[in-house]
Subunit: 374 residues, 2 copies
C-alpha cells in the first residue's frame, strides 16, 4: 500500500484499483471483476500503462474518455472486446481528424475505471489520473464537463455485433437519450466515447487523482497489515466518510429497465443497528439510503455497500438476499454540490422527493446514533 | 401529360410527380402534399433540377439516397428543413471523404419522392430517375441494394432538434433497428441517408425510370382531357394493374407504434361491389387487401386507395371513416418476386399468414367478379 501518486499502472496495481473503484462506483460503473481481467490481460500483452497527472497534460492533446454504457446486468455477461475499443478510437480519430493523445476514465467506478486502462495498454497511450465524475453515475450527461457547460461532442458507440455509431448530440441530455436507446437496441451494453476534449479543457473540468485514490483505498481494503475492522475505518478516514448501517439484506428488487438496472433493497439491522430498518434505492448506482424512514445519505454523495466479512464493495448487480453488509457514505466532489450539480444528479432528478443534504450534515443530525455505532 | 423521359424537373412537374408517387407509395412514403410544397419552394429558390437516367450515371460518382424515416403521422406535422438536408449531406461527405455526385429517391413513394428533389435543388445537384424500391416500403432494408447483397454503408440521421448521427450498421436489418429506435427517440421523424453507392452499383440495383413513371401516372390522374372514369383506367392500363374494390370506409384503426403508423380499415362495397366486404392492413404502407376473407392483393405487390370522386390517392394517414374509395393494385418490380424479395418484404415478414400470390394470378382467379366489375 502506497500513498504516492500513480506514475505507472502494472498488472499488480489492478486488484487494488478494482476494489477501490468499486467503492467509488457506489455499486455501479460496470463489473470490476470483468474489467480487471480485461485490464490485466491488456497489460500482460502490451505492457504497463504510463499515468499522466491532470496538471501535466498537454493543453492541445486530445484526451479521450472511453468506457461501457448500459445495464451492469448485461455488461457482466459480456466484456468489451479489444476490437470494440479499437474501432471506437479509430472512429473518433476519423471524425475529429485528430490523433488521441491520452485515455481517461469517464467515471471512477467499477469496470469503467479498468476498461480505459485496458484501452490505454492496447493503444500504447498514457492514461489520465482523473475522471469526470469522481464516482460513478448512471447517465451520460452526469459529468463535470457538462457542469462546466461543455457538450458531449463527437460521441461514439460500438457494439459486440460490429455496429458503430458516431453522433453529434446537441447537448448532454440528448447524448444520454440517443445513447440509451441505441445501447438498449444493441443488446443492453456498448463501448462508448464522449466528451473527448483537449488537455486544457480536461484541466478545467476533470476531478484529479481519482485513479491514485482508487488504488489507495483498494489497497486499504485488501491490506493484510490491517485487522478486519480497521480496513473500513481506514478508508472512511481517508475519504471523510461515515459508517451508516450494519445489516442483513431482507428484500431485493432489481429489474433491467430502459437500459438501466433499477431496484431497491431492504436491510434489517445487526449488531449495534439491531432493531432498525434500512433501505437502499439504485439506478445502476446507489442513489438513496434511508434509516427508519429518515434520509441517511443521498446522491450526489456516495453510498457504498461493503461485505461485512471481507470489507469489499458489492455492486447493485451482485447484492443478494441474506448478504451481511456494512453501508458507508462519503461526500461527493464539491462540483456536484453546486446548484447545477444538484440539478444534474441530485435527488429530484432521479424522482426522489427529498432535498439534497450533505452526508456530513445528516451524520451530525444522527450523531447520538453514530456515536453509539462507533 | 407527356410520356417522354424526364430530363429536367420544374415547379410545374411537381404536382404530377406528387400524385403519381402517392399512388406508387401505396399509402406511405411520407405526405406528398408536404413534400411537394418543399420541392416547389426549393426549385423556386434554387432553380430547376436536372434529371439523370440510371444508364447515364458516372460509374464512379457517389449517388446519395435521401429521405424521411418515421411514422407518416409525425412527418405530416413537420417537414425536413433545408438545414437538416444540408447537414445530412455534409456529414455523409465528411464520413466518406467524397463529394456527392447525384441525389436519388430511396423509394418512389409519397413525400420521399419529393424530398430528394428538394435536396437536389438546394445543393445544385442532378437527381436520378430511379429508386431502390419501385414503390414505398416501411423498413430501411427493403431496398433493391439489400436484395443484391449490398449493406447500408455509412448511414446518416439528422433530426429537427439538431442532433446528427452517423452509423455503420453491420447489415440492413441492423440499420433498420438502429434507425428506428433513434427516429422514435428523435420525436418520430428524421432525415435519413443510407445505401449511398457509386453509380455503377446504382446501375446494378436501382429500378430505373420511376420518377418519369410517377409524373406520367400523376399526369393521367390530373388530366383535364380524360373523364373521371377514364383516369383510373388509363393508369391501370399503364401499370398493368387491377381495380379491386369500390366501397366506403366503415371502420378505421390506426396507431403510431414503434415508429410506424400501423392499422387496418374495413370497407363496405358500393356500386358493383355492393354486398361485399373488403379489408386493408397497413404498416405505413398498404400491405394486405382481402375481399370477403379472400386475399385480393398482398405485399410486395402494390395496393393503392384512391378517392372515388377525384381519382387521387389517399395515404394510410389520411384515410378516414366514411371515405368513398376505389382500391387498385398492380404488380411490383420483378426483383421483389424473387425468393429474397419475398423473404424481405413478403407477407410472412409482416406476420400475415398468407402466401405471396401475384396480383395478376389473384385477379385471374377472381375473373368472374373482375369482369362484372369492369
Amino acid at each position: 500500500m502506497t500513498h504516492s501518486q500513480l506514475t505507472t499502472i502494472t498488472e499488480a496495481d489492478i486488484d487494488d484499483i478494482a476494489i477501490g473503484a468499486a467503492v467509488l462506483g457506489t455499486g455501479g460503473g460496470g463489473d470490476p471483476h470483468v474489467g480487471s481481467l480485461h485490464a490485466k490481460r491488456a497489460i500482460r500483452l502490451h505492457g504497463d500503462v504510463r499515468v499522466l497527472q491532470v496538471a501535466d497534460l498537454d493543453p492541445e492533446g486530445l484526451v479521450v474518455p472511453i468506457g461501457m454504457i448500459g445495464a451492469p446486468s448485461v455488461s457482466i455477461e459480456r466484456i468489451a472486446g479489444d476490437a470494440e475499443i479499437g474501432r471506437a478510437l479509430d472512429l473518433l480519430e476519423q471524425a475529429t481528424g485528430r490523433t488521441v493523445a491520452a485515455i481517461m476514465p469517464i467515471e471512477i467506478g467499477g469496470g469503467n475505471s479498468l476498461i480505459p486502462i485496458a484501452a490505454a495498454a492496447e493503444r500504447g497511450l498514457p492514461i489520465v489520473d482523473g475522471d469526470a465524475m469522481g464516482r460513478a453515475f448512471p447517465e451520460a450527461q452526469m459529468v463535470t464537463f457538462h457542469l462546466a457547460g461543455y457538450g458531449p461532442g463527437a460521441t461514439v458507440l460500438v457494439d459486440a455485433q460490429g455496429n458503430a455509431v458516431l453522433s453529434y448530440p446537441v447537448n448532454g441530455a440528448w447524448s444520454e437519450r440517443l445513447a440509451r436507446v441505441l445501447t438498449f437496441e444493441m443488446g443492453g451494453s456498448a463501448t462508448m466515447i464522449d466528451y473527448a476534449y483537449p488537455g486544457a479543457v480536461v484541466q478545467e473540468c476533470a476531478i484529479p487523482g481519482t485513479l491514485t485514490m482508487a488504488r489507495e483505498i483498494g489497497g486499504m481494503l485488501r491490506s493484510q497489515a490491517l485487522r478486519d475492522d480497521e480496513r473500513i475505518d481506514a478508508m472512511l478516514a481517508r475519504l471523510g466518510g461515515f459508517r451508516l448501517f450494519d445489516g442483513k439484506v431482507t428484500e431485493i428488487e432489481r429489474v433491467v429497465d430502459g437500459g438501466f438496472t433499477r431496484g431497491r433493497a431492504e436491510l434489517a439491522g445487526t449488531g449495534v443497528d439491531r432493531g432498525s430498518r434500512f433501505e437502499l434505492s439504485f439506478q445502476n448506482e446507489m442513489l438513496l439510503a434511508t434509516r427508519d424512514g429518515e434520509v441517511a445519505a443521498v446522491t450526489p454523495d456516495l453510498i457504498a455497500v461493503l461485505d461485512q466479512a471481507t470489507g469489499h464493495p458489492i455492486t447493485t448487480e451482485t447484492l443478494r438476499y441474506g448478504a451481511r453488509v456494512t453501508v458507508v457514505a462519503f461526500p461527493c466532489h464539491p462540483q456536484w454540490r453546486t446548484e447545477r450539480g444538484i440539478e444534474t444528479a441530485g435527488p429530484a432528478y432521479f424522482g426522489y422527493d427529498v432535498p439534497f443534504t450533505p452526508v456530513e450534515a445528516l451524520a451530525a443530525e444522527a450523531a447520538p446514533r453514530m456515536e453509539k455505532a462507533a
